[in-house]
């Protein structure tokens, strides 16, 4: 491919090839504090290629694929190339990673113990992780939490944090422009801006921790805290995992241990500040 970049994030190395320079330049800038992985053997290849020969130049249109792809993936505009690259890496992980149980969850760490937050897109898990990461917690990741099947630890996967719509202003005001990516307006999920994790979170991206609390956050509701039964947790986490089925018995064993061992709560909150106060209190009580 004409332009390429190799990135290592936590345990996974990605070789990203692009028909256009723009997305690679943006990735280089935003991943500048990550280790230099040029010339490494990559776990995954990501390709940003034109949907047809002509669409490289005329109304450029990106098809995201790689080692693992989806035939019906929607094409994207070149101006959203950074998002395309991020989605490409997500796609490889979601479909191809086998070395951990993948949970679609954000995670932050304090004193070697990990808070895991999972929920649908828009539940606030990314925003909450980003905000906590600025307030004394270490951000471990906002997209995937990697559950080590041998030790039960959660391993970091601290990619750029993807902030959507109203969360953009809330977070960018706190971290400063220097760690923010370009505004990607009117994507399929609304406006998106990426945030670079703190340098110390990146520096410690090989260091895991034992899970101590699982939360199911829900943004936009009155404050509420509810217990969640283990059977429901198990079902929700199997649905939040893209490789649970592929891992077979090892995945079942790891997930069962996680569900039995980690206390869990569902929390509703109207604002970010409420959420942080609720999380900090639950952490004191339960973790």
């Amino acid at each position: 491919m004409r332009h390429e970049l190799t990135l290592r994030i936590g345990p996974a190395t990605f070789r990203i090839g692009s028909a256009w320079r723009g997305p690679i330049d943006q990735l280089s800038r935003l991943y500048a504090v990550y280790p230099d992985a040029a010339g490494a053997i990559a776990d995954f290849t990501v390709r940003l290629q034109p949907t047809s020969a002509i669409r490289q130049w005329v109304r450029p249109s990106i098809f995201i694929t790689g080692d693992h792809g989806l035939a019906d993936a929607a094409p994207m505009r070149l101006s959203h190339g950074l998002l395309a690259a991020e989605m490409g890496m997500n796609l490889q992980m979601a479909l191809g990673w086998r070395r951990h149980l993948l949970l679609h969850a954000s995670s932050v760490e304090k004193d070697g113990r990990v808070l895991v937050m999972t929920g649908e897109s828009g539940s606030g898990k990314s925003t909450l992780a980003a905000l906590l990461g600025e307030r004394g917690w270490r951000l471990m990741g906002d997209e995937f939490a990697l559950l080590d099947m041998a030790t039960g630890a959660i391993m970091p996967f601290p990619r750029l944090v993807s902030l959507k719509n109203r969360a953009i202003d809330v977070v960018s005001g706190q971290v400063g422009e220097g760690r923010m990516g370009p505004l990607l307006a009117a994507t399929a999920k609304g406006d998106i801006r990426h945030m670079v994790p703190r340098a110390d979170a990146v520096a410690r991206m090989d260091e895991g921790g034992m899970p101590a609390l699982l939360l199911f956050p829900r943004f936009g509701h009155d404050r509420d805290v509810r217990p969640v039964g283990q059977a429901e947790i198990f079902m929700r986490l199997t649905q939040a995992s893209t490789n649970y089925v592929a891992l077979g018995e090892a995945g079942f064993t790891a997930l069962t241990r996680f569900v039995r061992g980690v206390p869990a709560r569902a929390i509703d909150f109207p604002t970010g500040d409420d959420a942080i106060a609720m999380v900090e209190r639950l952490w004191e009580e339960m973790a």
């Binding site: 490494a40 053997i41 390709r47 290629q49 080692d67 086998r98 592929a246």
Partner: protein, 329 residues
């Protein structure tokens, strides 16, 4: 050319010792694109490879083991669904290789479940599968009529809860193709594969794999199909194969498959000009896993339809498909 790198690694696993990082990246991307990563992982198991590579190969071997387990379970479910019919159910392709523990099955990617049943029992088989939870995968009246009138199989079915596809064949090439393999003797010569199921005889397995690759398809996934053939040839009796090939009208295709398999995976062979075109098509894959040689690939796509249908029928079919928005990859 990374497909050439992949072929070399399968033919001579020790050759991977000389690869640098770029070589490994190209090899792995091509192997994944050709769905040969687990086959490669099985072939080079035990050889020293870089630390970054070993976990990828281990993952691929585990995936293949899971696929084989799933495929055998799906075969078991089909056997259960069809048990009362007293029909010979013959497993085809990957599932058969896994059931029999064949060389061609080691690390092989297994997609759908393919079975062969007598054509005069198709209706009963269809009804029994419906009763056991299978349904049409993509109901389309044109496709349905087309499959039933002209193809060698029913339209694909999918299980409502297990989400796995089954292809029910009544012979091994479309009815419109020029060679006419003898479906009745395929089924009559089939061998037990356990659990009340059957698989084709060693020689008919070669005939089927060759028909599928060279007399029918556009050579998508051709490196994998040729790897199957290479393994299946080693397990077939040459004299018996000659007899079966004559019955099925596949002599020229099997001769070509022998030359190609020897050229790519074996000790080498003298290739004709036509063989070289096929070989070039098979190796059209770059170090990013992309298909190259677009014109050649498209030519083989067109040819696959040409082989399947008389010209007028082909024109009508392509026109209908085009209007429905279908475009070749």
């Amino acid at each position: 050319m990374s497909a050439a790198l992949l072929v070399r690694a399968l033919r001579d696993p020790a050759s991977v010792a000389g690869l640098d990082a770029a070589g490994w990246n190209g090899l792995i991307a091509a192997a994944r694109a050709e769905r040969l990563i687990a086959t490669l992982a099985v072939q080079i198991e035990g050889l020293p490879v870089p630390d970054a590579v070993e976990p990828m190969l281990a993952d691929a071997r585990l995936d293949a083991a899971r696929e084989a387990r799933q495929a055998l379970w799906e075969a078991d479910r089909a056997a259960q669904a069809l048990r009362a019919l007293d029909v010979r159910v013959v497993l085809l392709k990957g599932t058969a290789y896994a059931a029999a523990g064949l060389k061609a099955g080691a690390g092989r990617f297994i997609g759908d479940l393919d079975i062969l049943v007598p054509r005069d029992r198709l209706d009963a088989v269809e009804q029994a599968l419906f009763a056991a939870g299978w349904e049409w995968a993509k109901p389309d009246p044109y496709d349905d009529a087309y499959y039933r009138q002209w193809m060698h199989e029913l339209p694909p079915m999918i299980h409502a809860t297990r989400d796995r596809m089954i292809d029910v064949h009544h012979t091994i090439l479309p009815l419109t193709a020029r060679p006419r393999p003898d479906a009745a003797t395929l089924i009559a010569a089939a061998e037990p594969a356990g659990n009340g199921l059957y698989m084709l005889s060693a020689e008919d397995r070669v005939c089927h794999a060759v028909a599928h690759m060279l007399a029918d398809g556009d050579l998508q996934g051709g490196l994998r199909n040729l790897w199957d053939i290479y393994g299946l040839l080693a397990e077939a009796d040459p004299a018996a194969l000659d007899r079966r090939v004559a019955i099925h009208g596949l002599a020229a295709h099997v001769r070509q498959a022998r030359r190609l398999a020897a050229s790519l995976y074996g000790a080498g062979a003298r290739l004709t000009l036509w063989d070289r075109a096929v070989r070039a098509r098979l190796l059209a894959r770059d170090g990013w896993g992309r298909e190259t040689r677009k014109a050649l690939v498209f030519a083989f796509f067109v040819r696959s339809h040409w082989l399947r249908m008389p010209p007028l029928m082909l024109a009508r079919h392509l026109w209908t498909k085009w209007r429905k928005g279908h475009r070749p990859q």
